[in-house]
Structures are given as C-alpha cells and as structure tokens.
Symmetry: none
C-alpha cells in the first residue's frame, strides 16, 4: 500500500512532467494529468493539495536531478574551463530533449505559487555555475568578474539559444552537436575571455596553443 501510494505519486509527477514538456503549463490541466497518469482527478488530490503544489514538485524534482549531475561535473578533477564547458554542454544536451520543460522553467507561471519554485530552480542552476566560476577565478584561470551576473548570463544564454521553439524536432544529431558546442563556446569565451577555445574541440590543450 505504501508501495502503491509512492507508485501513484510518482506516476502523477511523471505524467505532469511529460505533459508540461510536450505542451507547456497550458496543456497540463488536472484532467489531462489524471488521464495521463491513469488515475481519476480526485485521486490526484489525495497526493497533492493543489495544482500549484503539484507543479512545484515537478519543477523541484526535475531540477534536483539536473543539479546532481551538474554538481558532479562541477566537482570534477578537470580545470574550471573544462568543467564549465562540460556543465553547459551536459545541461544543454538534456534541455534539448525537453524544450518545453526547460521552457517552463523560465516561463511565466500560471500560478504565482509556482513562481517561487521557479526562482529557486534558477538560483540553484546559477549556484552550480557560480561554484565553477569561483574556482576558475581563484585559480587564475578566469579573469575577475561578477560571478552572480556571469552565472545568470550562462543560464540565460543557453536557455534562450536552446529553447526558442523552432521546428519541433527534425534537426539531425550533427546539427544538435554543433548547436550545443556553439553555445558552450559562447559561454566559455564569455567567462574565460579566450577567443578560440570553442571552435577547436580539444578541451585540454594548453592556453598558449590557442589564438
């Protein structure tokens, strides 16, 4: 029964995430969520007191997962530049899978209650990048700079570059790779101030070799 409870709860969260990812908040109505989860609308209210709280959990959950991955990268052994690039690319890669979901992270929430969660998410993402930036500056790898702004800009840059709703899928993997690496190049350049790192994808060459 405990099992079942947890099971249903998870199904609801999953269904909601999928609906948001596919059609934004607008499509994630309680009836649709219930249908997608294979439950009744009433059942949802046994697990979540309101739509807002459900959405909050979905966001929080999705972000938590993302943060774990990013933190692992941020705590890695590579130099800050590499970690920055890896983090951006890792995030970007997954965001491409679910544009609408990523979109929802920055979208005007239907409900003000959800806003708080959204803000928290962004801050959390920012924190990961801040950590890397701090490292890089401390180690002399990055020029001194406003890490709050830098982190926010990174999040914003790839969000915007990835998320704008273009043709639904279609684009080949090749294009996707190119896009992701163009974005990460942008971010690395922005932080390091080193012009060419991005185009040549060799991550560990010494700085002197760059132009």
């Amino acid at each position: 029964m405990e099992e079942r409870l947890a099971d249903n709860r998870g199904r609801i969260v999953l269904a909601t995430r999928r609906l948001i990812a596919e059609g934004g908040f607008r499509e994630a109505q309680m009836a649709a969520v219930a249908a997608a989860a294979g439950l009744s609308t009433g059942a949802i209210y046994r697990y979540f007191p309101s739509k807002a709280e459900l959405f909050v959990e979905v966001l929080t959950e999705a972000v938590r997962h993302e943060i774990v991955i990013l933190n692992a990268i941020a705590a890695g052994p590579e130099d800050a530049t590499t970690r920055l690039r890896l983090a951006v690319e890792s995030f970007a890669q997954r965001a491409l899978e679910g544009r609408h979901l990523a979109y929802a992270f920055i979208a005007e929430p239907v409900d003000p209650e959800v806003e708080a969660a959204r803000l928290h998410s962004r801050r959390a993402f920012g924190d990961v990048f801040k950590a890397i930036l701090r490292d890089g500056i401390a180690g002399g790898e990055f020029p001194d700079q406003d890490i709050d702004v830098g982190a926010a800009c990174i999040v914003g840059a790839f969000t915007e570059a990835l998320v704008r709703p273009v043709a639904p899928t279609a684009k080949a993997v090749a294009d996707r790779q190119r896009l992701v690496s163009a974005i990460s190049s942008f971010c690395v350049r922005a932080i390091t101030g080193a012009a060419t790192a991005a185009r040549r994808r060799a991550p560990l060459r010494p700085r002197s070799a760059r132009r």
Copy 2:
C-alpha cells in the same frame, strides 16, 4: 474627436503594458485593462478586436521602440565591440525599468496568437545583434563564430540576468549601473574573446577612455 480616439487607444495600450509589467499576462485581464484605462470593457473592443490582438500590439509596440534605438546604435560609427557594448547596455538599462514586461517577452504566452508576435520580437532583437556580429567578424574584430547562436545567447544572457524578479525596485542606481556593465562585459567577452573589458570594473570612467 480624433484626439479622443488616439488618446484612448494609447491609454489602453499603456494600461495593458503597465499591467503586464506589474503582474504578467495573467493580471492583464480585459476587465482590469478597462479599469486601468478608465474605460468600460466594451470600449476596449472598439479599439482591439480581441485580447490577443491587444497583447500583440503591446508587444509589437514595445519592441518597435526598442528596435529603433538598438538599430541606431548598431549603425553607429564606433567599432563593433563598442557598438555591442552600447547596445547591450542600452537595452539592459531600459529592461530594468520594466522587468515583467521584458519577462513577458520570453514568457509562455496565454494565447497562441501572441506567440507569433513573441517569436517575431525575439528574432528582431537577435537581428540587431547579428548585424553587429557580422560587422565585427567581417572587420576582423571578432573571431569567427556562429552568429545565430551568438545573438540568441546575448539576448538570453541579459534577459536572464536582468529579469529575475526580485523585490520590485529596491536596488540603488549604483547597483544598477554595476549590474548593467557586468552584463555587457559578459557579452562583449563572449563575442570578442577579449578579457579586457570585464576586468576593469571602474564604472564611471568617461566613455572615450574605453574600447
């Protein structure tokens, strides 16, 4: 009479913009717009056939204004780096006045009709920056790079950095200046790959001394 017409139309647009800026699309309901404009709901429909079209006009109008300014900067006599910086700072400065409005530009729109206008807006902003990037690359000032991604990242970067809705005003002008210049530094660095601009944090040096 003509006067009156134009006057009311303007009042409606203004009221709508204000409501969106304050509370997002959600708060800008027709009744609220009417009240804010000092009119009846019916009166709005004399000027706009639907809520969607009103929103579209508000967006379009705000963007048009912005684009004119940005284009003037983009077409200026300065080198591309300077123009980039000026454009970003100019935009950022004004975006700070109306966070929520800027927010609405990237928000998930209530109405699919509005979405078209939103996309167009973003493209328009992007185009301005693309022009500068093209110039700079052609003139050897910027390293070769994907200008589509670059333009999108710029828009995203400062949108994110500016727009996160904190307490409505609060921050002093000094902070604002610093914020704006940190953002523009980020963007300039990202495009030029030159770390210079950011390191010197002296916010008040005369413009001529920069470059």
Copy 3:
C-alpha cells in the same frame, strides 16, 4: 426639414429591409443599419425608439405594400380560381426576389415585441386569401371548406416551397417560372379540388374539359 426627416426615416427603413433580406435579423444590427443608411447609430434613435419598433415598422411596411397588390388581385374581375392563382403567383414571384425577407416573416423573431407584427402580417396575408376563398365557395366554384385553414395552408405552402434557403441565386428564370407555377398549381388544386388546372396554364377553360 420635414423633408429631411422623412427622407432619413425612409432611408433607415430601406437599409433595414435590405439587411434583413440579405442576412436575416441577425445581420441587421443597429450599427449595420446606421452604416447602411449613411447615418449614425444615434440618429436612428431619433426616428425609432428601439430596434424592435424599427423592425416592426419594416415588417409592417413591407407587408402593406404586398397586401395592396394582393387585394387588387383579389378584387379583380376574374373567377376565384384565376384570382387565387394570380395572387399566389404574384406573391411567390416577389418573395423569390427577397427570400430572406420572406423568411424573416415566418422566422422566430429576435425580439418578442416583433412577434406581434409578424402575426399581424400573416393574418393579413391570410385575409386576402380568405376573401378569395369566400368568393369561390359562395359562387360554387370551390367546394365548401374551412377557409381559415385553407388560407393558412396556402401561405405556409408557398412560404416553405419558396423560402428554404437553397443555393443563393443561380437558377434561371425558366426554373423560377416552373417553380412558381408548380406552387400555384398545388394551391389551386388544394382549394378547388380540380386535379389538372395547374399543368395546363390555360386559366379559363371550362371545368368539363378538365380531368
């Protein structure tokens, strides 16, 4: 000035009739009427206290005109059968010009106030036919029958046969003639109980010649 007044009044009635004829009551909104009459909405209220009263006048006016013509036929020198046929054909002919107007006569009125006028119209039409029927029965030309029902049925029969909205215009005059005479044959047969009068269009042949 008196001139002008009457002029405007007429223009309004005319415009309303035209609008009803073209699109039914639904299209005849006060703003549309005003535009069609080349006046302001306010001006209409100088001549008519309400939309309902305007509609009533339009109906009454249109019917008065019709009744005058029909009464002339009813009072003619021909035998009752001929007059009946002529009346039906005359009415039918003109109804074909403005189906929607004829339609409006039998349509559920938008406003209950208009209903009274509509009823009056139908009664008036019925009265014309009743007169003819009475004549014909009195003169032994028609079998004895319920003239109230007969008159109503005649009005209904050709209304239905003519008014059902088929392809807008198109049909040639030949078809129109055939239609009108099929209807009048139906009505004449219904009243006289004589089977073949209609097909052979010779109106005055002696009864013995018929089958």
Copy 4:
C-alpha cells in the same frame, strides 16, 4: 453510474426541448437549460461541447422520432391517398403538442451550425412525403406533378396552419380534431385533385367509410 450519465444527458435534452418549445431558441440559454435540468452550467459541457451541438441534438432527436413514425405510415398497406392523410394527421397531431418546437424547426436559427440540422430536418420530412407522392403517381392514384414542390408545400401548409402561436393551449380537443382534419383535407385535395374529402365535414365517421 452509466445510469446516471444517460439520465443526465436525457434530462438536458429534455429540458432544452421544453425550453425551446416554450420560448424558442432565445429562451434556451445554457444557464436556463442547466437550471431546468437541475444541473450546473458546467455539467452541460460534460455532455455537449457547445450550445450549438446541444440544439442540433435536440432537433435531430425530435425529428428522428417523427420520421420513424411517418415512415411507418408511408410504408403501410393503404392506398397512397390514405397514407398521405394519415401521415399529415399524425404529424399535425403531435405538432400541436409542441407548437414552439415545431416552430423552431422553421425558425431562423441563432447559430449557423444549427441551420444545417434544421435544413436536414425539413428535407427528411419532405422525403417521407415524396415517397408517398411517388407511389401515388406511379399507381395512377395522383395526377402527375412536381413531387419536390408538393412535398415542400405539404410541410409548409400544415406547419403554418398549426404553428401560428395563439394563446398557449386553450382550444378544445374538438377544435383540434377539426383543425387537423381540415389540414389533411387540404393536403389530400392538393395532391389528389379530388374534392371529396373536404366537402364532407363529418369528423367522426368511421375510417372505413372514407375513401
């Protein structure tokens, strides 16, 4: 549960029919329908996607019922004349129960979507009579004639004769019988061209005595 569903759906249709019968389309507003059905407005939308579709169903339903009965008569063993009379009388009899509903069949519909259903209904009624006419002509019972016009005229004749809205009920059953048979006499005469039926006004003679 299934029970409940069907029950409510039926209640809604019933309530709508009653409201239309009493006050026409105009009175059958969704709120009124809901109230009459003992439900909330929202509940109606569980069963019908829109007001138009509800109206269409009400019409269709009423017509289907009618058509079944009429077709049974049209397919009966009697001669065409008798079947014609029976069909008209049967229809007329029931139309007298719900004048306004019959009225709505010929009324200018509020919504263009409903118009299609209305047209279909009339055509369906017409078809029944066309079948009888065809039979009668083929069997030499009726003179040759335009059956399209004939069918339309029949429908129109008794619609008009029955439907003119007088005081809601009032008239005694005796009057009703006489009215119905006057109408059917009119129609039979119109089609057969035989004056017999109408002249003998004795309403209560046994059916076998008629021809």
